[in-house]
């Protein structure tokens, strides 16, 4: 069984935010109305961690981190869900079952990375965005929690494709939208257990770190970063 994970090289990332746009369009994440956005209900599965700086002016540098659901190996969110609407799959992806969620938002309260978002109101998707719908992804109704799923629908598609071609699933078959569009090739995705995969090599890199390591959630999204001299 593979164990899917992601590595983001912050030394390469230019914070062009293409991954964020790609994620929004790929997953039909709703665009809330202006009022709700002002209330802090804007929905992003992927976002840049708020700016946070290193060094002293003028040698200062922003360290913005592309944040998505870190797909923890010890997910705190699944522990508290009362209806098993979020759970960890065998391939390590922390999935959501939207039709089962009762919207108690306990998982959000327990996510130390605030990676989850909630459909506060009816889908207010704006007109223009309607057409950009990705037909592979279901639209979430109001009152359920949603989050990044490593574009799990792409995995399904890839599986079927491989099956129809009578071959095994290769690493190149399945890649989330954010990793696909990254212009700097800063986002790597693959099987963390497969010693031949690139991510496997990268997570043994000295620059590797994960967010909030001390919580023991064992995120499967790793970051690479080294201080430039």
């Amino acid at each position: 069984m593979p164990k899917y994970g992601m590595v983001i090289d912050l030394n390469k990332c230019t914070q062009c935010e293409a991954c964020i746009t790609a994620c929004k369009l790929e997953n039909n994440v709703q665009i809330v109305s202006k009022e709700n956005a002002a209330l802090g209900r804007a929905m992003f599965w992927m976002k840049l961690l708020d700016s946070n700086f290193e060094g002293a002016y003028p040698d200062i540098r922003p360290t913005k981190i592309p944040m998505l659901c870190l797909q923890c190996d010890e997910p705190p969110c699944t522990k508290v869900c009362p209806v098993r609407a979020t759970y960890k799959r065998d391939d390590g992806i922390v999935a959501q079952i939207y039709p089962q969620c009762i919207g108690c938002r306990y998982c959000m309260a327990n996510c130390p990375y605030s990676a989850k978002t909630f459909n506060w109101l009816k889908d207010e998707q704006q007109i223009e965005n309607e057409k950009c719908y990705n037909t592979d992804v279901s639209v979430r109704p109001k009152g359920v929690v949603e989050k990044c799923t490593f574009c799990i629908h792409r995995l399904q598609a890839a599986r079927e494709k491989a099956k129809s071609e009578h071959r095994k699933l290769q690493e190149s078959d399945y890649i989330p939208a954010c990793a696909e569009v990254c212009a700097a090739h800063a986002i790597y995705f693959g099987d963390l257990d497969d010693p031949h995969s690139q991510v496997f090599k990268l997570i043994n890199d000295y620059r590797k770190f994960t967010l909030q390591e001390e919580l023991g959630t064992k995120p499967k999204v790793y970051y690479l970063s080294a201080k430039a001299e």
């Binding site: 946070n52 981190i65 057409k131 569009v181 770190f209 390591e213 970063s225 430039a228």
Partner: protein, 755 residues
Amino acid sequence: MEINRRDFMKLIGGSLAGLALGGAAGAMMKLPKSMEAVLYSGPRIESWKLTACTKCPGGCSLKVRLIDNFPIQVFGNPLSPVNEGGICSMGLASVASIYHPSRLTGPVKNVNGEFVPISYDEAYKILSDELKKIISQNKHDDVFLVTQTESRLRAGMFNKFSEEIGFKNLILDNFRTASSFPYKNISVDAPDFIDFDKCDYLLNFGSQMAEISNNPLYYTRKINEHRSKGFKITSVQPKLTPGIAKSDDWIPLLPVSFKDFALGIAYVLLRDEKYDKNFTGKYFSGFNDFRQYVLDNYYPDKAQELTGVPSDKILQIGREFENASAPAAYFDEAVLYNSNGTQNASAIIALNALKGFRGFGKIKDNFFSSMLGKDNESIENISFAKLKERLSGNESIQALIISSSNFVFNNPGQEALKKQLSSIPFIVSFSSFVDETSSFAHLIIPDHDDFEKIDLLFDESMGIPAITIRQPVVSQFFNTVDTGDILISLMKDLKPGIKIPFQNYSDYIKQAANKIYSNREGILMDQSKPTAIEKGLRKIGWNTEQYPSFDDFWDSLLEAGGWWNPFADKESYNPKIDFKQIFNKGSLLPKSSLYSLPNNNLRLNIFRKNLDYKGSMSIYPVLVEQFGSNWSVFYELWAEINPDTARKFSVNNRSKVVLRTNKGKFTAILIYNPAVMPGNLDVPFGLGHVDFGDNCGVNPLAYSDDLSDKQTGKATFSETLVEIVSASPGDSPSSAQIMTNENKMTGTESRSIYA
């Protein structure tokens, strides 16, 4: 609206995006009735097509995903050498514009303030009659054409048109032309590219290479590569944008004193005698005057006084520059965004000349120019400045022809501009939306959407000729006409008996492509990069790509989405330069007043985000929402300020402030950002459209002083003074918050995360 609600319920019930696509269609999508039927009950068959992006000059190759032949999503084409599968936010969002509800579905005529739809023939008749009248009165000089199209072939078409008819005033103002203007200004042609194979030191003046440049995605990759090779990048910029943050050294500097800084560096080279004597001897006429001038006026302490950059820093940069074997001092359009932009650019060119432009290169016998005709010469004699001058002067303008340009929004002094425009007797626009500019038009003949057009995009900035083809991925939705076709038929009507070698625009494109075919070099973008062996074989004339006829080539070109020539040879760039008219003794600008701020004043520094290339973001809701998202500011203007400055004015983080310039008051959300130049108030450009898509926020240009570069008429982005009138409480981050951000990120004290 009622309908939407019901559709939404349906959508929730069905809970399948497929349904959403259908269900929502009736209310949501602006489409011909016939197509809606398909949308409702299509078989949902997926297909992919290749096309190119025209949002910027880069010409990325796009992979468009269609469901029942409706473009749904866009991705990058992994085989394209330009973007290698990458794509930027604008490209991703671009698919939305074709369905935009406020898109014009056909020609409209302005009947006292109201735009009423008319048939194309009628519209065309009005246009041609109007022009005929002018020509008969022999007032060619009173006709102005403005276009900012990034497609150089399209620009070429405009050129051809204006030449044939005899309209001298073509303002061709796209990124590439603007960037090469300073070279044209000293009558040399610009270098094709930065030679990253040789270049070992990049001194970047005000260009957001990885964000807004003539090939952002390529530069994104190259910057990383360049740095991983251990070479340095130094950026001189008033704002530390994420892209600039990639450079090893950031010199916060106001654009007004780029020139002083560049010459300050030049001084170091001259003083250390580390400049390329061979080159200066051969190509640099009037070098000794220049040398003298710099040595007299730009000794480090003086430079420090002029720029505010500490002299030892200037020395350091200077030494790095002079010791590099092939340094490049790079600039592009952005350098022109201030009142002495051209001068700045010339200084930078001079600096390059001292090292013989070793960092730059040209493509050997580049056949693009032959292919394009004279695409960007016109700017030599005419730039936006001239239009402004004419508008403000009493000389009347008979007609104004605008294509893919929204200059009212992109320029300061908008009130005056609007007044002047409304006095022009005849304005025709080819915009497919009623935006700030085209709302003044008397006639709008909407052009196709980008996904319905055909075009060829060229790029040399990679050091190899690359051509991506924009082909229509959908048959046109509405009653729109390709501007190119209109121009062609106009030529025929206005100049009877003219010889035009092509029937319509796509013919014209084909002929350009024919040049590639006959050139017989290069390969299509349907294969991975050629290996060294392949290259070797090529050198000895081996060529696997044989096409029996041009049509075969054309078909496979459409299939591949592009063509490039990895085997093209480079040659060094050594132009004959002459600065007599620019730097002569005594013409030393005084220190800019912007440095000595009157108290309780700040500098309004307008910066551009990569999400908005030229004020056209507002039709893409995804981008508008995302615009301020990493400051968690939504649909509102924000102003970044250095915390120290903020404390001086005692305004809190995230407080709502009212700002005042000479042009009036506007509100913004104040954001603490320690990377902002003290005394600056950085506001983003792109929000604040009045009647163009999603209007929210404020357009800072509307409130900035009406200054612009003398020669190019480019707007100034950072020379307006602003003061904070009032501020709401807001929340000041608790000390703990600031102290512990580091640990919050990584969870460990020691771990450093320098991105």
